[in-house]
Subunit: 466 residues, 2 copies
């Protein structure tokens, strides 16, 4: 199966190769091969054939191994090409890493092994050189990471998560795993999933008088978290600045392009946070850091998703801040003011009006949650903020927290939150925090219309098949 010297010379005669005498043989991720660019070395690549062009003397296969957006072109002499080497098949290839006349890395194969064949006619849903619509690939969740669009999005998601951790690590925030199972419904919106053991034997063994199935396991009715904020506040009062990045849940009956039943939220709580500007500063720096870093580390992935995606002009400008009242005035002049909370259309009008992300601050108290802090100079308002962005509208929500024991006691929605009140009793501090929807951020970053393509296995009503 080795490439003969004759063939190598023939190939060399038609294309110019930069050759180095290195003969180290190694298997590496394509991401690493490209980074090192050790031209001349004998290299092993393992991946999938994403495109194949068969010509008279040679075949040209584009191999992807998922580690980066980059595909490696493999030049395969005629006698090494087998019938099983088709689009979609998995392969192990050895050969010399070379530079094409256009300066692209490629491999001149001298060994080709097809590991797993792929017969498209047997029901493989994808075709070469075809940009399948997201609605189509979404029907094949178990296979869709083999498409450019989804694999690029998942690499970007992985990179964004890394950048988030780097941002907070470099600022000495501690990463806290707030619980998924909880007996409090933080936002009080009632859109929670409840949780029970499934096994009848467990249920029988744990059943006690006076308990129903909802509460027999934990002793209390238990839900999936809608936010880690309250728990984060508890840790913040012992350990200072903290953050969490994990799954949260909503049992809404919504199938919109912006909603999921399971989604990831980044939440941070800032110790000794005395005004909303401190919070805005961290949020703005975080967003700009994520956008700048990811556009750098994943430039080719962003290009795979949308060739037109350009650096947003707002990345070099300060974000605009409007009070809620100012925002309503703007909407009124556009004939869209309605009072109350903003709908998606109104959010996007405000973003358009301001030419980029907008903080909306000083919200009417009765529109926001019990834990938000009353504004110092206007007790009808709370020191809350929403950050509105292009594509999705609201992507961050946050507030200063009510740190006055007596005021909070009056607003506490349930005796079960006594522990939360008690945080204010001993060595209390002012704090503020925010929650950022990871999937919506990815939509903004990549210009992705439907949130269901920003995570590997989206869950929404009637969709949890795997």
């Amino acid at each position: 199966m080795l490439c003969t010297k004759l063939e190598f010379n023939r190939l060399r005669s038609c294309r110019r190769y930069i050759q180095i005498k290195g003969i180290t043989r190694k298997y590496c991720a394509i991401a690493a091969i490209v980074e090192k660019s050790d031209v001349g070395s004998i290299t092993e690549v393992k991946g999938w054939v994403r495109n194949l062009r068969v010509q008279k003397e040679f075949s040209f296969a584009d191999i992807s191994d998922g580690s980066s957006a980059q595909k490696l072109q493999i030049i395969i002499p005629k006698h090494l090409k087998t019938e099983q080497l088709t689009y979609g098949s998995s392969v192990k290839i050895k050969g010399k890493l070379s530079l094409s006349p256009r300066g692209q890395l490629e491999i001149l194969a001298n060994e080709v092994n097809v590991v797993g064949p792929c017969v498209v006619l047997d029901g493989y849903p994808f075709n070469p050189r075809t940009a399948h619509p997201p609605e189509y690939t979404r029907q094949y969740l178990h296979l869709r990471s083999r498409t450019n669009y989804i694999s690029a999005l998942l690499r970007i998601r992985s990179a964004v998560v890394k950048h988030i951790h780097d941002f907070f690590n470099s600022r000495n925030y501690i990463n806290i795993h707030t619980p998924i199972l909880t007996s409090n419904d933080c936002e009080g919106a009632g859109e929670v999933f409840k949780v029970q053991p499934d096994n009848e034997d467990t249920i029988k063994a744990m059943m006690q008088e006076g308990k129903d199935k909802d509460s027999l396991y934990f002793g209390l009715k238990t839900f999936l978290t809608v936010s880690g904020q309250l728990h984060l506040e508890a840790i913040c009062r012992g350990m200072g600045n903290v953050y969490t990045l994990g799954p949260t849940f909503r049992a809404e009956n919504s199938r919109s392009r912006l909603h999921l039943s399971e989604f990831y939220m980044l939440e941070a709580e800032l110790a000794f946070c005395e005004n909303i500007v401190q919070l805005q500063t961290v949020i703005e720096e975080l967003l700009k850091y994520i956008f700048t870093e990811t556009r750098n580390t994943n430039e080719k992935d962003i290009y795979l998703i949308d060739k037109e995606n350009k650096k947003p002009i707002w990345l070099d400008k300060p974000f605009v801040t409007l009070t809620y009242d100012e925002a309503q005035l703007i909407l009124n002049t556009k004939g869209s003011g309605t009072g109350g909370d903003f709908n998606k259309e109104q959010e996007l009008i405000l973003v358009d009006h301001c030419g980029g992300p907008v903080f909306v601050t000083k919200w009417p108290k009765d529109m926001k949650s019990f834990y938000m802090k009353e504004s110092n100079n206007d007790s009808s308002k709370v020191d809350a903020l929403d950050l509105l962005t292009p594509v999705t509208g609201e992507v961050v929500g946050g507030s200063l927290r009510e740190d006055n024991y007596e005021k909070l006691k009056l607003k506490l929605p349930s005796e079960r939150l006594h522990w939360y009140l008690e945080l204010r009793k001993f060595g209390n501090i002012p704090t503020g925090g925010f929650g950022l929807g990871l999937e919506r951020l990815l939509q903004v970053l990549c210009g992705v219309n439907n949130i269901k393509d920003t995570l590997p296995f989206p869950r929404w009503p009637h969709n949890c098949d795997m």
Copy 2:
């Protein structure tokens, strides 16, 4: 409230200070202050009083802000000390960063503000200079991050998570968020939680004929994940090496020192993994990396938890490998062989016998899951491994996956896993992977007896109060 020149001189006369003319005024995390050690600068610290010694002219307060194990000693002239400055109170302090005669960083305060007082007699459960037993602090989950023991463990947890991400990032693994909600029960052990919407209006609106409450929202009965492995395998066949670190759940009726209802699992899936040694190598490198890095970055936290904690001797040696049959022989010679799976006592006997972590490989097929690969030369065995360690016994489980379509088809436990079978149909590759229990790893690393202290809000039967 400023410290007078007179007092400063008096203080200087009794203790020697290294002074530099820097007068930059800044607020920083203590972790950052210690790292920079900008002696002479005017520094602002915000944190909690963890210890207080009142003497005639000065008080000495140890301040912690949670960012590191290090406390900063603050020297407070008599006139700045207020009644509210007590153990447990939160403070903002400004002063000059100095070096004590013993070479420790400390601050000579010229401004002291008590932000939140702490009256221990009002019910604060902790006392200064007291190592409260973990069973005691566990009753105060919302306050216990204020103790040395728990804050050190949470900082170590945060660091271990960072090291895990760094390890896999540097090897080009993609971080994948596998779903929490799933309609398959991967291990088939039946110890799952089921999930339903809680809101009666949502239930009414979504109720369809022929559906019960368990399946009306997603169309299928839906559970909390027990493992992301099957989903990870799907992504691995499109994107190569992948990993996930997230919450998993077991509805067991167990209150042992090693079990939780909600715990974190690191899972990795290796593309083109053809033998179990490849898997063992990655696991061993990962564990040694985590131990070495964390002992470095969090030396003082480890000391706070256990002053006797020394670098394990096995860290510089290769891990031992035993086959299951060999392990049974050893147990027989110790009078402890029983056949079947190992119990905790047997696991720890094997670890003790080998003087460190032990891989147990080549397990009887009927003791392991359907997806594990039959050994090439013995069809009664599967290429599975457990890694046993001191303190906890099993901390990692893994295997090569059955990659033969026909063999897997015969073993598939449910028609609902057809998608999993189909992964082997198109461009299939051999893969192998493992799952590592994060909390158990923390137990081993820190010598923590009870798993409930390795995460901020442990959940176990009858315990989900917040």
